[in-house]
């Protein structure tokens, strides 16, 4: 039998506290000072949140924060979209658990690992707490509960029976996301028999998420192409990519947003940027692409030259070698920086409020300008910060999950 590791390797919570926080007299003093400071700040915040803050500014405007001035009689489309999103999320989540990555020979998958139980509990808590906090009507409360239940049900069903799916269906399932994006676009903007809702009527979290996802989805392939172009052997392609990247990175986003409102109409084929909202979306995309290109370039530089040589010597054409050999390895390296860029992009959408769009921040500014809610800035900004933090945390968690899935702690071959 192997000897047990010494107890100091895995100390209990009290031992850990004593060793890490009160290891010496100075450590103890610093720890006590910091803990006192944190406690005072937390108490102050709690006192303000409970006794002074007036949260009606949030609950009275919750629809405005969520979707802006989206016409009331068309909002069922957004509910439908939310339901579909919940369904797709539950399905994908369950399948990720049911189907371990191919080729790995680990223990059989567990239906509900501990992290998943936590996530499910948080979802349920949110579903129970949100309607109460926002003082929603019973009809809307019921909808939120139904959507949460649907998500968890789909998660459970996919986790339970995912392995029984035929391989063809399994391979097709990731396609529901791009499909859902297209369906969502139609549901939001109208067309195909639905009443048109002009982009100027989109707002709040809806507009913020729409802009962010649009820019994230498009800036990524664009950034990869730019990064490849920058390393190309064709001088024109190389210089063009370099010029583009350096130009974009040398200008502040707000300048480009204003510039885009004026000149994008000439640069893009008509119909692609018909109004202020789409022009802003394209500027965000082009802006982020330059930064993604730099992240991908660092990833490409980390792939040994021998990888491309091996692929080429096996007869793979350049596109095949890039897609199947070089880029998967480069993306593994570039993923954290790329997701960091996505997070920045999400936060940069707040600049849209400066060019007059009613994204989350723009909506917040109109709410705060309402005389009925004068002086309630702190509440609004705090909620905004928490909302953004949740979105960014979700992106970060997703990225970390993807990293472990792509790279199950294997030493890279030289």
């Amino acid at each position: 039998m192997a000897p047990a590791p010494p107890a100091t390797l895995r100390p209990g919570p009290w031992q850990w506290l004593r060793r890490e926080l009160f290891g010496s007299r100075l450590d103890g003093l610093i720890s006590i000072a910091l803990l006192g400071f944190l406690l005072a700040a937390a108490l102050g915040l709690a006192k303000w949140a409970i006794f002074q803050a007036q949260w009606t500014v949030i609950s009275a405007n919750s629809t405005l924060f969520a979707v802006g001035r989206y016409p009331l009689e068309q909002q069922w489309r957004l509910w439908l979209l939310t339901t579909l999103l919940a369904l797709a999320t539950g399905l994908s989540w369950g399948l990720l658990r049911a189907l371990p990555r191919s080729g790995s020979s680990g223990p059989p998958p567990i239906l509900w690992p501990r992290n998943d139980r936590w996530a499910a509990a948080i979802l349920v808590l949110l579903a129970l707490w949100r309607p109460l906090a926002l003082q929603l009507t019973l009809a809307i409360q019921l909808r939120w509960w139904a959507i949460t239940a649907l998500l968890l049900l789909a998660r459970w069903a996919a986790g339970r029976w995912g392995q029984a799916l035929p391989p063809l269906v399994r391979r097709l399932i990731p396609l529901i996301w791009p499909l859902l994006y297209l369906v969502g676009m139609v549901l939001i903007s109208g067309g195909l028999g639905l009443v048109q809702v002009a982009p100027s009527d989109w707002g709040g979290l809806l507009l913020t998420l729409l802009m962010a996802t649009f820019a994230i989805l498009l800036c990524f392939p664009l950034g990869v192409l730019l990064a490849l172009g920058r390393r190309s052997t064709l001088p024109l392609l190389r210089w063009g990519s370099l010029l583009y990247i350096e130009f974009i990175r040398g200008a502040p986003l707000i300048t480009l947003l204003f510039l885009g409102q004026n000149i994008l109409g000439f640069l893009l084929p008509g119909g692609l940027a018909p109004d202020r909202v789409w022009r802003a979306a394209w500027v965000l995309t082009f802006f982020a692409a330059a930064y993604v290109a730099e992240a991908v370039r660092s990833g490409l530089a980390a792939v040994p030259a021998g990888q491309l040589e091996a692929a080429r010597s096996l007869g793979l054409s350049m596109p095949f070698a890039l897609i199947h050999v070089v880029l998967p390895q480069a993306m593994r390296v570039a993923l954290p920086a790329t997701v960091g860029q996505f997070i920045t992009l999400l936060q940069d959408t707040t600049l849209l409020s400066l060019i007059g769009l009613l994204d989350l921040l723009g909506t917040a500014r109109t709410v705060m300008a309402n005389p009925a809610f004068l002086g309630r800035n702190a509440e609004v900004y705090l909620v905004l910060a928490v909302l953004f933090w949740c979105c960014c945390a979700a992106l970060g968690l997703g990225s970390r999950a993807l990293e472990t899935r792509l790279n199950p702690n294997l030493a890279p071959s030289r």
């Binding site: 080729g103 040589e309 080429r312 010597s313 007869g315 199947h324 030493a411 030289r414």
Partner: protein
């Protein structure tokens, strides 16, 4: 050679300058026949790896001509791709694809390039892995294998494309000493099966036992070409004698 065999590689007056002006190959000639095993030796910087890498266009050259299996190497990308399909290459650093399982390393190129059905390629890949003695590692990743195992996978990966020629660029130089033999044995088996091979190596014993001819290169030129028994016991050139003394 006792029986006249078809010419597999024909290099004539190959000259190469690196972009920095270094004259790496100075008019190199070499003819490799079908089924022949040619070992290229020489001090580092002699141009032996560069020369080998011109055979599948991993290095370009400015003057001279190279024909592989009747296909002339030129700037024409289609011809380069055609040559690369016929020529397998094994690298010093293995260059396995770390993000793919061993089996996928083998099947990637045949499925993508030769457009063969995946099932058939997988069967063939498993046979090849069995032949190099690591069938049971098929579903592991390269990073989980030892250096010797990785190099044997790399050989199997090249063989899976059913090449007509195999190039080996110092295949045992990056290996721990106890793993050299297992790789050399696989190469020896390959030679016995009649594979045409060009091997850049410092392994004298391998050259003695397996090679049909030994080539000594120095300063970007071929110094001597001779059968191994003659090259090692009775070298003709002063530079060859000096080289053998240094590695001896």
């Amino acid at each position: 050679m006792t029986t006249p065999a078809a010419v597999m590689i024909e290099a004539r007056g190959v000259e190469k300058w690196y972009p920095n002006g270094f004259h790496a190959l100075r008019g190199v000639d070499l003819t490799v026949h079908q089924g022949e095993v040619v070992v290229i030796m020489g001090p580092s910087g002699s141009g032996k790896s560069t020369f080998l890498r011109t055979f599948n266009a991993l290095e370009d050259f400015q003057q001279g001509s190279i024909e592989v299996d009747g296909i002339p190497l030129s700037d024409d990308l289609r011809q380069i791709d055609a040559v690369r399909r016929e020529v397998g290459m094994v690298f010093q650093q293995f260059n396995l694809f770390p993000h793919l399982s061993v089996l996928d390393n083998l099947t990637l190129a045949p499925v993508l390039v030769r457009k063969l059905p995946k099932q058939a390629v997988q069967r063939r890949a498993l046979e090849l892995l069995d032949r190099v003695g690591i069938a049971e590692q098929a579903h592991k990743y390269p990073g989980q294998l030892s250096g010797g195992q990785q190099q044997r996978v790399a050989i199997a990966r090249s063989l899976c494309m059913e090449p007509r020629v195999m190039l080996f660029d110092e295949p045992t130089s990056a290996l721990d000493p106890e793993m050299v033999q297992e790789v050399l044995e696989v190469m020896q088996g390959l030679a016995q099966d009649g594979m045409t091979m060009v091997v850049v190596t410092h392994e004298v014993r391998f050259a003695r036992q397996v090679a049909h001819r030994v080539v000594l290169m120095d300063g970007g030129m071929v110094v001597e070409i001779a059968p191994p028994e003659q090259f090692f016991s009775n070298p003709q050139h002063e530079r060859s004698k000096q080289f053998l003394r240094q590695i001896g």
